[in-house]
Subunit: 477 residues, 2 copies
């Protein structure tokens, strides 16, 4: 008899003659009711054991965490909380779980404790729900781009170029760490390293994605990126996954339209496909909020918040307008901001972004046309000569969700910008070639996948939305 | 007027009043016919210019590689080779392309030359077709697993563990390369490195995927993996993408069924969705084959070969049977093999795999139940005490496409195996936990994505099926 998943059995709802299920025991109460979970859904299947028909030694081995194989009849449940249950006819212990030492007890564990047991934390409701959401969001990303004529590409992870300029990089090497080969001048001789030159882990696939956009039209990457920054915050990882679409012949307005449509589409997808996980996470967040002071509680429930984003237009505001709003805002005038906004050109801090999104506009905000000197070299200079066609999308509770721009397509302007920033042309000869041969307006953006998962799950720490987080001093598992 | 993709215009087929298209000039002949491509399809759109109505200076700038914007009327084509064409009313040069220096001329380039110009090679028919196939196969992978109840997970790229044992690893570090900090004993002090210990790039996500299979049931990873091996062959990359499903409660037979069904499904997907690219690649391969001696030509055309795999059962053969076949084979008896098969226990070389697949069975072959001592520590020992529940899928022209196994689920057997191989238990405490708490039969496999793309596109060098290949002495772009 073929084994079935609990998700299918419960979705089916009808009662079946005889079924076979395998899973892990969540709880076993009154020597009679097993709550069985196999990961296919947040819901457990209730397995009813007539203890008089089973050996006592066997019943003792039905402990939290044990893997078991149950066969029996699926019948309508007499109890509350489930429509169907199994009347167990045969039960086999596949793998025991010593209740004295098993770390995942049927009680509330702190997220800190579960991070130390990240290999077992998806055996809890919260983390299994979060990781099913991760999976759905990931599929929704691929589906969105595939449905809209984008081609997926694998941009390189190891890069010989360090000109991307998005942050500190990790070095990738096979040289003897203690006694590296040296050149005659006494410097490390990277010619003897694997790639024949210094190599690093990528911080972004954008520049390579541009090469494909300028031939295939619409492309995207979705892969790991890296920052060797010593940031021990709840929003930063040393290794995270980034979604980066890049589109030929698209300007910044098109880019904003794309990013907004994309975010609404993937969030709609989980509203439709992950209802039960979302309902669980929604309740979890509400209970968690009760433990917090009023001011720190979420202004909206999780599902309402996602629906709000899906149903409302993002507010589009130029950097210049935003500076005006901030300069005249109460916290600025009363000097409540840590960084007081005094004049045009100031880089916005997280406190300013939060004010705009959470207090002033109370919805996702797209800021655009930033001062050139606080943004990257490849962003297109506006006719005013001082702003660039950049945009950031700010989300309530998250901050920057998306960063994008129209790219500088004019060879001479790009060269000047690189020269001003001491980026050698030899490093990016291929990037410059795109402006030499058939250049055109093009745009794209980057979206940190784990930030999206945080927003969609209501989880407050980015370490809890990726299976095995990499942070300073931590690469366990 | 909104710009449309050439793929949509051609698929539509009907004639439209007025349209707007942007793309790159492939050729311009007789001062009249522009072949325009925008990457959305292998097919060019013919744009007919009435040269008497256009400025001569403008016409001179319509060169191969130039980006242009064309508006005009879509009409039925009078010429051969296309059903519709544009009668151009207005033409704008978006970006020039100097025909004297543009590397991608309208002629045949060698693949070696195009690798040096990998940033422009998707402007050729062959590479745009290959990369659209890559994208389709990638989507088909996600779709297959999503449709079949698997959860996608992001296994870590940077790993603190070096016990995976699948090959040489790259070190990831931020230590001063010339004067690394040393311990009192004079060794490199990794405590001062970013992660507080030595860290490497992953060679496989399998071990972490097992942790999630043992809670979520069916999971898969699809991400980059790395080998610091000095292999300069047409089948090896230092950085490549691997697909790794892992399933709880599944044995080796189920694993073989899954791998076969998966391969047939993703190959069916491209037969259905990439017909035009496949037809182009099929013809390319036929023309290429004509330049080769008879013995080196492909025994089947590309599309026929893919259909053959989709429509026929893979042949399942135990290692022991395979050794018998090889021992009694002509090339073995006549000593034509470089490695003569003399007795049970020999590791199979590529020449033996090719003989089995291409000469003996003439179809994909699944070899299973290998000798334990030529396979990895985590594979489940059979009752005979000398073979393990491993399987490799061998494909004609490619060799090993899939490697998988049922995993050793018994704590004591696994510990003994690790001890025998000097793998410290402290390194893999979390992996051992899976056998302590609710262990169960489980299985999975790994499939190198680029090998799959090679098979489906007929490309002979793995460097030509990934945008920017990383190989010894090469990390350009």
């Amino acid at each position: 008899m073929a084994t079935q998943t609990i998700a299918k059995l419960l979705a089916q709802g009808t009662t079946l003659q005889e079924i076979s299920v395998k899973g892990w025991v969540r709880t076993f109460r009154a020597n009679r009711f097993i709550a069985l979970n196999d990961g296919s859904t947040i819901n457990n299947l209730q397995c009813v054991v007539d203890f008089e028909n089973f050996d006592e030694a066997l019943l003792k081995r039905i402990t939290t965490g044990a893997a078991i194989h149950v066969t029996g009849e699926l019948v309508e449940s007499q109890g509350k909380g489930q429509s169907v249950e199994i009347q167990v006819k045969a039960l086999e212990i596949l793998g025991d779980s010593d209740p004295e030492t098993y770390p995942i007890q049927p009680k509330k564990h702190t997220f800190e404790f579960l991070r130390e047991n990240a290999h077992l934390r998806t055996r809890t409701n919260t983390f299994s729900a979060v990781m099913r959401m991760c999976s759905s969001l990931s599929f929704a990303v691929h589906k969105y781009f595939n449905d809209n004529g984008f081609y997926n590409m694998h941009t390189p992870i190891i890069t010989g170029s360090d000109a991307e300029g998005a942050g500190d990089m990790f070095r990738v090497t096979i040289l003897d760490p203690k006694n590296p080969p040296l050149t005659e001048e006494g410097e490390v001789n990277y010619k003897e390293d694997f790639f024949g030159k210094e190599a690093n882990l990528t911080v972004s696939g954008q520049l390579e994605a541009e090469t494909y956009a300028m031939s295939l039209g619409k492309v995207y990457t979705f892969g790991p990126t890296f920052r060797a920054e010593n940031s021990n915050t709840s929003r930063h990882l040393a290794e995270f996954w980034m979604i980066e679409p890049e589109v030929a012949f698209m300007d910044l307005d098109g880019n904003m339209d794309l990013a907004e449509d994309f975010l609404k589409s993937v969030l709609s997808y989980v509203l439709e496909h992950n209802r039960e996980d979302l309902e669980f996470l929604d309740k979890r967040l509400q209970e968690h909020d009760k433990t917090l002071p009023q001011a720190e509680r979420s202004p909206m429930h999780l599902i309402d918040k996602i629906k709000f984003v899906v149903d409302n237009n993002f507010k589009r505001v130029s950097y210049t307008e935003a500076i005006d709003i901030l300069r005249n805002s109460k916290p600025n005038k009363k000097k409540k901001f840590n960084y007081i906004i005094e004049e045009w050109g100031a880089d916005l801090q997280s406190e300013h972004e939060r004010f705009l999104v959470e207090k002033h506009f109370k919805c996702p905000v797209i800021l655009f046309d930033y001062p050139a000197n606080i943004k990257a070299f490849y962003m297109r200079l506006n006719e005013d000569g001082k702003t660039v066609r950049a945009m950031d999308i700010l989300f309530p509770g998250i901050g920057e969700m998306v960063g994008g721009s129209q790219r500088e397509e004019r060879l001479e302007v790009l060269k000047q910008k690189m020269a001003a920033l001491n980026i050698p042309e030899e490093e990016l000869w291929w990037y410059l070639d795109l402006r030499k041969y058939g250049t055109a307006v093009h745009s794209g953006f980057g979206l940190g996948f784990e930030r999206l998962v945080m927003f969609a799950t209501g989880m407050g720490n980015i370490r809890d939305v990726i299976p095995y987080p990499r942070t300073p001093q931590n690469a366990e598992f």
